[in-house]
Amino acid sequence: MRWLLRKAWTLVAVYFAYMLEYRGEIFFWMLSGITPFFFMSAWTVAAGRGLTVYGADDYARYFFAVFVARQLGIVWVHWNMSEDVRSGKLSFRLLQPLDPAWRYLADHVGERGVRLPLLALVGLVFAWLYPQALVWPGPGRLALGLLAAALAFGVNFSASYVVGLLSLWLEDATEIYNLWYVAVLFFSGMLAPLSLYPEPVQRALVWTPFPHLVYLPAALWSGLEADAARGLLSLLAWNLFFFALGRLLWRLGRRHYSAMGA
């Protein structure tokens, strides 16, 4: 246990230092994720004209929460994995008595350490522009939202890792992840609160991981209706599913690894 904690701490600390070297890139990357604010302005205009169920402040609050949930859930392990397979860097990871997935995870957690202060800056700007939209969700909903965001990160990470593992067969699987991203874009609540989607669509989406990835934490933080228990259980189940799939693909895919380039 002592070594486990030491390994985790060292990996996260070193990758945090690594990511600090790229703080500028991370800031601009974060700015490229401001899509929710465009939807926010469209929906608040519609709300101002009385065309929607929620008020303008509700939308401002919701889309800011969407932005935060999305920022916390960003992953790129499919890219890491494909790059490491193509360049042969995976060989060095395989030579060590540590599953390469832990390094990728530390890379992401370390990056979050750089992204969070930058995210806080964006939050301050938002609070200055929309002070009326800020409502304290209460400690319970805040904590549940954070738990949902952490589990959503887990699902995103393990799904992205599964796609990355396909590189062991396809050499480059990064484009496949775009399919996942399209589904996230349309079905996670990034375009509009899912409570506005038609009833049959909402019922169908419940069986997928997508509505819980963004909508669940965003709804919990912004005060919209959300079935927290079902959403959290679903996220947990999807985490287990992708984890198991990842282990299986890793075992099978290792046989295909040719360590080219190394």
């Binding site: 600390a13 060989s91 060590q96 290792r254 360590a259």
Partner: protein, 328 residues
Amino acid sequence: MEAPAVLAEELSKVFLVAAKEPGLMGTLRHFVRRRYRRIKAVNNVSFEITPGEIVGFLGPNGAGKTTTLKMLTGLIYPTSGELEVLGHVPYRRPAAFLKQITLVMGNKQQLIWDLPVLDSLRINAAVYEIEPAEARRRTREFAELLEIEDILTQPVRKLSLGQRMKAELLASLFHLPRLLFLDEPTLGLDVNAQIAVRRFLRDYRERYGATLLLTSHYMADIEALAGRVLVIHRGSLLYDGDLEGLVERFAPYREVRLQLERPLAAAELAGYGEVEEAGGLRARLLVERRRLTAVVAELLARFAVRDLSVTEPPLEEVIARVFSEGRV
């Protein structure tokens, strides 16, 4: 009897490689009906390495050296054959096995590019479960041996090739592996750095009793370190024995150098051996070993020779002959 550090029996590796013709038609054909070629990178190779040995692994590019090393380190699965390294099946990658081996690749790096060397060492210390005090001791010891104490706090990207290679060695040997696989460890280094790396490897082996399997295109590396060589060509093992034996078997000739009183034409020397250099006051020819005494006596008797010396042919030439003829 001590168990071998490496035991390979009938080891083979076949790669399926997509074959694509150039041009648009080739691309379309490749898309519709993909063709694969089976490339036998390693073909029924068998050998043993006993603990503490230093073995040179020789072969031209594409001979199968690196593929063999990848199988020995568990990076890839063999297609067929038996393989046991330090009592483990490498491709299963048990932690007990991985903690005892290392692979150094001269053209690749494990160090984190944008961070100081010490940060990569911190990770290695945690991954290999080395206590901080011991990690500091090893860092000091190896950095001193490699003469890189001053560069450990610099980002890896700022290091010269020689410094980086030394730092790679430090990181690769940080967990004190018993078995070292070294693939071109001096590639691209200047002469001083090559000597330093060789000296370090020799010191490490003496201190820790490690076993080394080393590939290199620099014969000086092999001559300086290896007592035994394996020669592989087109995936097959051609020779397994000591370096002198290889020269003995494959180069049954000696090089005779002459310093002459007057210039001699190549034609005048042709009957004595294979003329390498002639036409001036200096001549060089390769003479069959069994005729050496007679030829030397005749040369001295027939020509005005100021000086004569007999040497082994350069190892590079011997190895080049082995590769070009593909047999020993």
